[in-house]
Symmetry: C2
Subunit: 199 residues, 2 copies
Amino acid sequence: MTPYPPLMETLIDQFARLPGIGRKSAARLAFHVLSLPAPDVEAFADTLREARRAIGCCRVCQNLSDSEVCPICQSEHRTPSVICVVADPRDVAALERTREFKGRYHVLHGVISPMSRMGPDDIRIAELVGRVSAGGIEEVIMATNPDTEGEATALYIARLLRPFSVRVTRLAYGIPVGGHLEYADEVTLARALEGRRAL
Amino acid sequence: MTPYPPLMETLIDQFARLPGIGRKSAARLAFHVLSLPAPDVEAFADTLREARRAIGCCRVCQNLSDSEVCPICQSEHRTPSVICVVADPRDVAALERTREFKGRYHVLHGVISPMSRMGPDDIRIAELVGRVSAGGIEEVIMATNPDTEGEATALYIARLLRPFSVRVTRLAYGIPVGGHLEYADEVTLARALEGRRAL
């Protein structure tokens, strides 16, 4: 005899299907939901449904947006001639937190990764090439992650953009601010030396 | 400028309000929801709403149930004269997994805990006394957790049930099966000695 009502089992199953949530956490979450006031649960269910329905990708930069063109692409305060290319909408959030970047973005939604069977056509590279070929772009900053796949994706895109008169740059490598030389890995340290600048 | 659409922020907030889910996990979950097929998200939203609406407590044992009386209380294969008292519906699930207990349950939905301002009237003790006073009960097994609060709750209930001709027992303390004496704490080991049985 299952000790929980079938609907409870279903709810636990649904939570357990989410990434990083095991069976025990799923049960804890399901019990929590039952203990919440009904209107809170209604609101949660509505948000889930609404978010899935209303949020899509910006037609221009492919970042998450609830309008056809996202606020950053619509903003007149953002330089339209600089595009920062990232793998994921979360990377846009990280860069926006710096309040340093005044250009626009392009979200690839992934990186080229033969291991995960992701080729150039599986991410939004064609859309980026489209934007660059339409003209008016002076610089494309490759801000994919500093790992093998991010690196390969950046190089691949840089090569693709070579026919256009656009400067393609890459985020600087170096020692993280506030870090200790002692703990920096040798590759990072070598890159920091290589990229040294006059004081 | 917030980098995510407002609805996305709301969704992240909703996830972050769940127990054990931090801001970063909440964002990961929200992104996952957006990547799911729409019908899956609909199903999740429906389950949340439905579970909250349809699941209540069994009128008899107070365990979670989608019917007025739960399947265990309705079953003719369960001894009605033995009640196992637990703090939480999850404890019913744990005991059912043993397939050893053939009686019925009583779920307190908490323990007496002055620290958390939970008194005897905040948990389902009156309902248990009601069941026992109605007669036909021979044994009440106190299966609250072997910690201070579970212990105090068990003792409190045992005292309350003294006027009725019912045997009140407690789960055995001892070394866990498969455990090592070396790692058993001294209190557990003392209890195991105290409760030793003839071979």
